[in-house]
Amino acid sequence: MPVVGLISHTEIVQSAIDALALGSLYSLYALGIALVFSVMGLINFAHGELIMIGGFALALLVGVMPLGIVLVVVAVVVVLAALTMERVAFRPVRGADPATLLITSFAVSYLLQNLAILIFGATPRTLSLGSWLGGSFTIAGNTVQHLSVATVIATAVLLAALVLFLGRTALGLRMRAAAEDFRMARLLGVRANRVIATAFAISGLLAAAGSVFLVAQTGTVTPDMGLTAILFAFMAAILGGIGSLPGAVAGGYLLGITTVLFQVWLPFSLRPYRDAFVFGVVFVVLVLRPQGLIPTRGHIRV
């Protein structure tokens, strides 16, 4: 086996796949946040609870019906949850200052977490999404997890679908216009409610996909599972330039790659502190580029 430095060739390939898979997951989370922020100026802290709702939907449904149907139902449930969140909690405060919006999203987040504790209890539920996702295959001496490949491919498909939607459809054009200048878009007939609801629906769909891959990886569902996810999602979104969709994706992959690099390179004794090193890198990037990697040029306002 050829050895590069202290790491074997095999380890490099596997780490690269891990980095892509983790980056994909972070991109999915970050995109949902960036999309809503771009049209509404809201940093939706409760996005993590959409992931949690997806998790519990999985916990309740896996084993009850075929996995294909479960995935569709989970997507529908999370999208409906996102739309309800927008209608009930965020529409009344639309146009308020950013601090009010942020505090509202904190409230929604804690409300949903506690609601989940009330209904499902605080003890983690374990589940498996089937043996195939837990399996692996070997190419040229490299062991590759099915889950990693599925995450990378599914994310690529979702990203491509999102790009096509935004770039090729009339509704997508309205979303881009609204993200750049919300007031002007309304003056040209773009319906504020429709654009914002669409952004929430898409963020729900991305959260649903994110929760499937997260649960497949960890095998557990808890009321606070959205918290860690959202922390990384914010970092990815801000790293990329908040509100910028390409930025969210870039930020997600950068974060994923950085995390895996530290996992591989850090001496064994320092590995428990891996995330501290990752946050350190984020800090340095933001000091050098406070506007993010790919900032938006538009004025975001409601």
Binding site: L188, G189, G298
Partner: protein, 234 residues
């Protein structure tokens, strides 16, 4: 067609508009002139649903515009070209015009209107696929007006369309407004360039500190030597 009655707008302690009243008839060209901060832009914002007046009314064809959203008001035939043009910089010229299609129920005719705008603004023809942020100020202003025309307005509201443009481009913009007026579109123009604005108008109103201080025909106003004193309040 457009009736504004006792329109009053407050921003906190500031009285931005104090009971202003005026009409714009079918196909009429009306100019509101006055200094920066006189309340001209606020009047347009209140008509198009961007700000809520505290009292007074705005009706269009007898229908009240109170409480309606900007997206509904544009569908009724009232389009605004706001100050600063507000083109979508990252969108192409064509996409900017297509956003305005949203306001149209008759999509097929609306697409013909996009082609008409293309024919009307030869300057935009070779920039069709260019991100609008790369256009010059004059080109952006033409795009902003063209975009409003895609909404097929019965009345076109313009806020300082000549601001920051080279004199030659200002001529182009005023010629265009005259042309639209001749085609039967009603125009409500807000300008600091008072002399030119009243010259092209059927009627003009001078605003000072949120009030209309003088109303007259455009011709009469443009012949008054004390026009500047009127809106300066000297």
């Amino acid at each position: 067609m457009l009736k504004v009655r006792d329109l009053t707008v407050r921003f906190g302690p500031i009285l931005a508009l104090d009971k202003i009243s005026f009409d714009v008839e079918e196909g009429e060209f009306v100019s509101l002139v006055g200094l920066n901060g006189a309340g001209k832009s606020t009047a347009l914002a209140a008509i198009t649903g961007l700000v809520r007046p505290v009292s007074g009314s705005v009706t269009f064809d007898g229908q009240s515009l109170a409480g309606r959203s900007p997206e509904d008001i544009v569908r009724m035939g009232v389009a605004l070209v706001p100050e600063g043009r507000h083109i979508f910089r990252s969108l192409t010229v064509e996409e900017n015009l297509h956003v305005a299609l949203t306001s149209r129920a008759d999509k097929q005719r609306a697409k013909d209107d996009v082609q008409q705008v293309r024919a009307r603004f030869p300057a935009l023809e070779h920039l069709w696929e260019t991100p609008a942020g790369r256009l010059s100020g004059g080109e952006q202003q033409q795009l902003a007006i063209g975009r409003a025309l895609v909404c097929r307005p019965r009345i076109l509201l313009l806020d300082e369309p000549s601001l920051g443009l080279a004199p030659k481009i200002v001529d182009v913009v005023f010629a265009l407004l005259k042309e639209l007026h001749e085609e039967g579109v009603a125009v409500l123009l807000v300008e600091q360039n008072a002399v030119r604005a009243v010259q092209v108008a059927d009627r003009g109103h001078v605003l000072r500190r949120g009030r209309i201080v003088v109303s007259a025909t455009g011709k009469d106003l443009s012949e008054r030597h004390d026009l500047a004193e009127l809106y300066l309040g000297l």
